[in-house]
Each structure stands twice: as C-alpha cells, then as structure tokens.
C-alpha cells in the first residue's frame, strides 16, 4: 500500500530523516516506534507532504507522491491525524467534520457523520459544541473523525494516545482496531508500547532519523535487547 524509500528531510540545516525506508502492507497496522525527537512525527509529515523531503520516494499504491502538496496527497487517499490534534477550536464538531468531507471513493464504504458518531458516540452528544471546549480525548476523537470524513485508504496517526487517560486510551485502541477491521491501512507513530501492542501488526523502530529495526509486533515484544536499546528510557 505504502512504500517509503530513501526518505531524507531537513529542518533548516539540521538533518532530521536520513534514508528512511519501510512498508505498510494493505490492511495492516504498522507502528513507528522511537523516543522523543527520533523522527516519528517528521516521517509522517514527510509522507503527508507537510515537510518537504529532500530526497527519496514515497510510493502510495505504486505512485510516487513525494514532493507533492499536502492537499494533493490527501486527495490521493491518505488521511493525516496530527499529534497536536489541531482541532478548529472556533468551529463546532459538525463544522469540523464538514471541513474534512471529501467525495466517496469507489469500493470503500463512505464515512458520514452518523457512521462516525457510531464509532465515537461521545461526539454524537456534542455536535454543536465548539472544538475549543472539548476535552483532550474528545478532541482526539474529533481529529480522527474529521480525517475519516475524507474517506482515506491509509490513515497516518500521530501519537493518538498522548496525554489521554488510560480508559480513553483503551477506547482509542478499540476504535483503531475497528478501523482496521473495516479494511483501513494504518501507519501509527507511538511511544506508548502498550497501545502499539494492542493495535499493531508490524513495528518499525526509528532513532536519530534512521530506521534501526523492522519486524512483527510480537517479534519485537520477545526481543528484549532491541527493546532495551531503542525504546526504554
């Protein structure tokens, strides 16, 4: 579904991503693991066209989308949920969703408000509330729901569990599994190993902008040394 090859990116003169490569097979959840500042968010942003890659390819269903603009990449079928959620705080829940709306895609059950309220019942109860007056968990749900309105085939989720209460994290994991069951492919950036374990099929470990390890999620959990080396504090 998604194949990243030799991806590099800079912020000013600082080298953030260096020759990053990995794959997201169709229908799977791949988690990008790494410590703070390892390059997880930047990888997602570079895939999404929000950070301009200085080299490399991003093949989405065989087409190279590297260097395109974010809106074109979104229209090609990628959905991006940012780490900071970036809810439009002065717009209501319903209006937030309407910003994300894009035409249905053949072969995919289109998302609409009713179906999203089914996925996140909490949102259904506050359709007219301004985004600025929602809790962190609710904003995270809204951010995901807003992106789903664009009927993406691949979802890029940046640390959806960050700053959420354990109960909410569990519910979020449920939602992600449900999305996967519906056939959505997902690339997840996470620090929370428990959340990653609950949803991911495969794991990719990134450190200092380079890929250090790639394999099955179960395999990683059994590999104490890799875990110690790249993920533990």
């Amino acid at each position: 579904m998604l194949k990243v090859q030799g991806l590099s990116a800079h912020y000013g003169r600082a080298h953030i991503l260096d020759d990053v490569g990995f794959e997201v097979p169709a229908g799977q959840v791949v988690v990008l693991l790494g410590r703070n500042g390892a390059g997880k968010s930047t990888t997602l942003k570079a895939v999404m066209g929000m950070v301009r890659p200085s080299a490399g390819q991003v093949l989405f269903e065989g087409r190279d989308i590297a260097g395109r603009e974010a809106y074109q990449i979104a229209r090609a079928g990628l959905g991006y949920v940012p780490e900071e959620r970036r809810i439009f705080s002065e717009l209501t829940v319903r209006e937030n969703l309407s910003v994300g709306r894009r035409p249905p895609v053949p072969g995919l059950r289109p998302w609409d408000e009713a179906r999203l309220y089914g996925l996140f019942p909490a949102l259904g109860a506050m359709q007219d509330r301004p985004g600025g007056r929602m809790s962190g968990g609710e904003q995270q749900m809204l951010s995901i729901a807003r992106t789903l309105m664009g009927n993406p085939r691949l979802l890029l989720l940046d640390e959806p569990s960050e700053g959420l209460a354990p109960v909410v994290v569990q519910r979020m994991a449920q939602a992600v599994r449900q999305l996967k069951a519906e056939g959505l492919s997902i690339l997840l950036a996470e620090q929370n190993l428990y959340f990653a374990h609950a949803v991911a099929d495969r794991a990719v470990i990134i450190e200092q902008g380079r890929i250090r390890w790639e394999g099955g999620m179960v395999e990683l959990l059994n590999d104490e040394s890799t875990y110690q080396q790249y993920l533990s504090l």
């Binding site: 929000m50 974010a70 717009l91 209006e95 309407s98 709306r101």
Partner: protein, 614 residues
C-alpha cells in the same frame, strides 16, 4: 439637537463605507495573514473604474448600479490576479516581505491610475433617483447617504450568512485558524486564498464605487483610506467581522462629532481613540489571541552574525571612498545626494534596530525622524540656537517621544504594535500639521540654515560622521549582551522571561534608542534642507524607511545600509528621469521580492557563502 442628529447620520454613512473596506481587509488578513497595504489602492481603483464604467453606460438605474457592481467585480478580479501572480509565490517568505510586496503594489497602482485617469480630481455622476434629500426632524438629509447607511448592515448580514452557512465559509473560518491543517484535509488552499482575495478586493472595490456620488475621485484616496481602515480593523480586532462593524461605527461617529466639538484636533482624535482601545484591549475589541503560527512551516530566520572579513574590508574601502572622493566631485548636486544617503542610512539603521534584533515592526518610524527634525528646526527658529546645540537636542526630542510612545507600543505585539506606532506617528503628524502657531503648519519651518563653517562639503562630512558613528553604535549594541537579550525576547518571549529577561523593559529601551538615532537623522535632515515640513513625519516617509530596511533584508546588519543606499539612489535617479518613478520603483520592488525573498544583503550573503563553499 437637529444638528447632532445630522452629524450622527453623517457618521453612520461614513461608518458604512468604512466597514465595507475594513471587512475586506479583515477577511483577507484572517485567512492569509497578509497585512495588505494595497487594500486602499483597490478601493481607489474601485472608484476610478466605477467612474469610467458608469459614465460610459446609459444613464439610469441600471447604468449606475450595474456600473457599481461591475466595478466591484472588476476590482475583485484584480485582487484575485494579484494573489495568483504575486502573493502566492511569497506566502512562505517572512511576513514583512509580504508587506513589502503590497507596498510595491501601492506604488504601481498609484502611477497606473495617474497614467489612465490623469492627475485631476474626477467628479462622478450622482445616483439616479437619489439626488434629492429627505426631511428628518425639519432637516434635509441627502437620500443617497441614507441608502449608504443601509448598505453597510446588509453587507454585514450577507457576509455573516456566507461564513456561517456555506461550506466555503466554514473552510475560510477553519483556514483562519490553521491553514496548514485545512490543506492536510485535502482542501486546495490556493483556490481558497484566491477566492478570499476576490471577495475582499471586491468589497473594497464596492466601497470605492459607492463613493462616486459622494466625493471626487483622486489619487490620494488610497493612503488616506488605508490608514483609516487599518485603524478600524485594528480597533475591531484583526480577522473579526463584527469587530470591524463596531469599530467602523465608532470611528465614523468620532469623525462626525469630532468636527463639531474639536475641529482643530479631528485628525488626532481618531488615532487617540485607537491608542486608548489598544492599551486597554491589546487585541482590539473583538480580537482573539492568534494561534501559535508554528502551524505554518517556515524557514527559521538566519542568525545575525558578524560579516566575513572580506566583506568588512569591502565596507571599509567603500567608507574610505565616501570620505575622500567628494572634494573632487563637481557641483553641489552630488554632495546633496550623498548627504541624503548618509541621513537615509542612519534613519534606516535605526528602524532596523527595532525591526531586526527587536522583532517589532514599526509603521510610524518617521515620527521620530520628524520630531528630531522639528526639534532642531524649532530651536533655531524660536531660540535662535546655533546648529550644533540644535543638532544635539534632536535625539533628545525624538528619544523623549520614544519614551512616551514606546511605552504603549512595546506592550503589544505583531501587527497591533505596528499599527499603534502608525497611530502615534499620525498624531505627531497632525500636531505638526494643525498647530500652525508653533510649527507653521503646512508652510513648515523655514530658514533652518547650517552655521557658516558648515559648507556643503563640511556638512556632508558631518552627516557622514554621524551616520557612520550611529550605525556602528547600533551594531555594537546589537552584538552586546543587551542585543542578545533583545533577540532572545524576540525569538521566544516566554523563555526569555523565564531566564530573567524583562522583555518589556528591553523592548522599551530599544525603542527609545531607535527613536533617538532616528532623531539624529532628522536633525541632520532639517539642516540639510534648510526647512522642515509635515512631510518629514508623514506616512510615506515611514514607508520609505520600511522599504529601505526590507529591501536590504531584516536579518543582516548590513541590510539597512544597502537598502538605504539602493533606495535613495534609485529614488533620486528615477525622480529625475521620469514622472512615473513610482511605477518603476514599485515594479523593481516587486521583482526584488520575487527574486530575493531574503533581501539584498541576504542574497549577497547567500551568493558569497555558496561561492566560498564551492
């Protein structure tokens, strides 16, 4: 009593048209974050185009109103083109560069209008069927004004509906908050920005066109309007439509009643109100805290550094030539131009000091230049002071104004602070213009001649000396611990506070210093010209200073130098060569902005660096 009602209605009529222009500006700013100085030019174009269209259409309702709408649409199209051809290419450039680009447009539009419609005022046709007046409480009030009063609220209602009830409006509101995120959700921002520009420009055009039956169309409409509209938008809160409406009402009525109550200080009054509002509510009446603009991916500003050794030698060499060559130049003209350049360099360097290291844009730096000039000139006129004491007094006069004005300006941030500097500059200008007994008003202060020893050549050396000393002093300060603190608070006010830097105090001191050095330049200017007029502190002079700094590049110490030299040289040559120097200068600015979004000095530096690396 009746008189008051009449004034109130007059105020409503001007509030209505103020709101039309302001709403366009505020919508454009909300989405694109561009402070569009050319918005007044679009308003002027609306009036001119309406004049041409209406006079060429058959008389009658259809001809007039059709012409007004056509003019508005045409201006909308011009605005959209402007966005597509110019602004779209520089959204990622620093904010001030976008400002520079819109200045360029102002200059170009002024001369294009001059070329097409000529210099004389044009009187448009009256609106058919609305020529008469109605009787209100025994007073006659023009019918057209009444219609105008109605148009404002109708447009406000339509705009609110558009923004609340349509998906386009939702997208615009979303983009006002976080345009990058809107893009990541699959919305083509280009199209959104262009359509916003179309709408905003069309509103300005509509306002201009509706002025046709009220007042003559002339070439001064652009700057006169843009300052008023800035006041409205800033008082209302940038990006807020209801705020713009309320502020337009406030300003319109203050104008109307001010003429009645304080006819001598009407000009001051409006800006005074703005200053008061901004001091009480730093983001205007309805303004909201801006979202952290980290949302927009931009390149970090280059760090201010010492110039490479070779560049230093080059500068030194240029200085030696500047000192040694003039005695061998024939004629006074070259000396006059060189003196102007020396003064311009100091003026630009002083503005650069608060804009670059300080991070505060000033739209009214001419105030301190002018107060320095007036200070020196008035001392000579009223106290017969010789040149040297008068020159020494200039920076103190300007610095004192800096202490007072700066206290208010540095408490605000970004565009609001810049607007407040503009307001204070306008107040200073109004005082110079309206306090005829002391300043001579429009006739200026004459006979400010240098001492006998200061021949043209000696005076040039004096100006050069002051300029070099001042510029070096400012550079020294920028690279001192004080300068570091100044830059620290610019880059991250919160973190700077956390390590014990008092941002307010530092900015205030910097502001006063910049004002003082501008005052030196102003004092020299007074003696170089032998006279001072209110133009020494008017908006065009502030704009000149901004152009010099922005042309040179904000984040290099050599920037203001190069910018001042390039600007003064170019200006001087153009004024001599053509009547349409604004057109040429504006076009040059636009080309430079598109070609070197880092400024001249930045471009030279980049070229230098890349050559050394190669």
């Amino acid at each position: 009593m009746e008189n008051l009602l009449l004034q109130a209605l007059n105020g409503l009529a001007s509030a209505s048209s103020l709101f039309l222009v302001a709403s366009g500006l505020t919508v454009i700013f909300g989405v694109t974050r561009i402070v569009n100085f050319a918005h007044g030019s679009l308003y002027m174009l609306g009036a001119y185009l309406a004049f041409t269209i209406v006079t060429n259409l058959p008389r009658g309702h259809a001809g007039f109103w059709g012409g007004v709408v056509l003019a508005a649409l045409a201006v909308g199209a011009i605005g959209a083109l402007l966005e597509m051809l110019l602004l779209r290419r520089i959204y990622r450039a620093p904010e001030l560069f976008q400002l520079l680009a819109t200045f360029g447009v102002v200059l170009v539009v002024q001369d294009v209008a001059l070329l097409i419609w000529g210099a004389q005022d044009l009187l448009g046709p009256r609106a058919p069927g609305l020529r008469g007046s109605v009787e209100l409480l025994g007073l006659r009030f023009p019918l057209y004004e009444l219609v105008l009063i109605g148009i404002g609220p109708v447009v406000l209602g339509l705009l609110l509906l558009l923004f609340k009830r349509t998906r386009w409006g939702t997208l615009v509101r979303a983009a006002t908050q976080d345009r990058e995120m809107v893009g990541a959700l699959g919305v083509n921002q280009r199209w959104l920005f262009t359509s916003v520009f179309f709408l905003g420009s069309a509103l300005a055009g509509l306002a201009g066109a509706l002025q046709l039956p009220r007042e003559s169309v002339n070439l001064h409409m652009d700057l006169a309007t843009i300052t008023e509209v800035f006041v409205v938008v800033v008082v209302g809160g940038l990006g807020s439509l209801p705020g713009a409406a309320l502020a337009a009402l406030l300003i319109g009525e203050i104008h109307a009643f001010g003429i009645l109550v304080f006819p001598k200080i009407t000009l001051v009054l409006v800006f005074l109100v703005m200053a008061v509002v901004l001091v009480v509510r730093p983001r205007g009446l309805f303004g909201k805290a801006q979202m952290a603009q980290a949302a927009v991916a931009s390149v970090a500003e280059p760090v201010l550094g010492r110039a490479p050794a070779q560049l230093k030698w080059l500068g030194f060499l240029a200085l030696v030539v500047a000192v040694a060559a003039p005695p061998f130049l024939a004629g006074d003209y070259a000396l006059i131009v060189l003196t102007d350049m020396a003064i311009a360099v100091l003026f630009a360097a002083s503005l650069h000091f608060i804009m670059g290291p300080g991070g505060m844009a000033s739209f009214g730096h001419a105030a301190y230049f002018g107060i320095g000039a007036y200070g020196a000139a008035l001392l000579t006129k009223w106290f017969a002071a010789p040149m040297v004491p008068a020159l020494l007094a200039a920076p103190f006069c300007a610095g004192l104004a800096g202490v007072l004005f700066g206290f208010f300006c540095v408490r605000l941030s970004g565009v609001y602070s810049a607007m407040l500097t503009l307001a204070f500059a306008q107040i200073a200008w109004s005082v110079a213009f309206q306090w005829v007994e002391v300043t001579g008003g429009d006739n200026g202060v004459l006979g400010v001649w240098p001492d006998p020893w200061a021949t043209k050549l000696n005076f040039y050396w004096l100006a050069l000396g002051c300029s070099v000393f001042g510029t070096l002093a400012l550079r020294r300060i920028a690279l001192s611990p004080f300068g570091y603190a100044l830059r620290a608070q610019r880059d991250n006010a919160l973190r700077a506070e956390a390590i014990g830097i008092n941002g307010f105090e530092i900015r205030w001191v910097a502001f006063v210093l910049a004002a003082g050095f501008a005052g030196v330049a102003g004092g020299l200017f007074a003696f170089a010209k032998g006279s001072v007029f209110p133009t020494a502190l008017d908006i065009p002079r502030s704009v000149d200073a901004l152009l010099m700094v922005l042309l040179g590049g904000v984040q290099t110490l050599a920037g203001p130098l190069l910018g001042a030299l390039a600007f003064t040289g170019l200006h001087e040559q153009l004024v001599r060569a053509t009547d349409y120097w604004r057109l040429v200068l504006g076009s040059v600015i636009l080309l430079l902005v598109l070609a070197f979004p880092q400024g001249l000095a930045g471009a030279v530096r980049q070229w230098w660096d890349s050559r050394r690396r190669a």
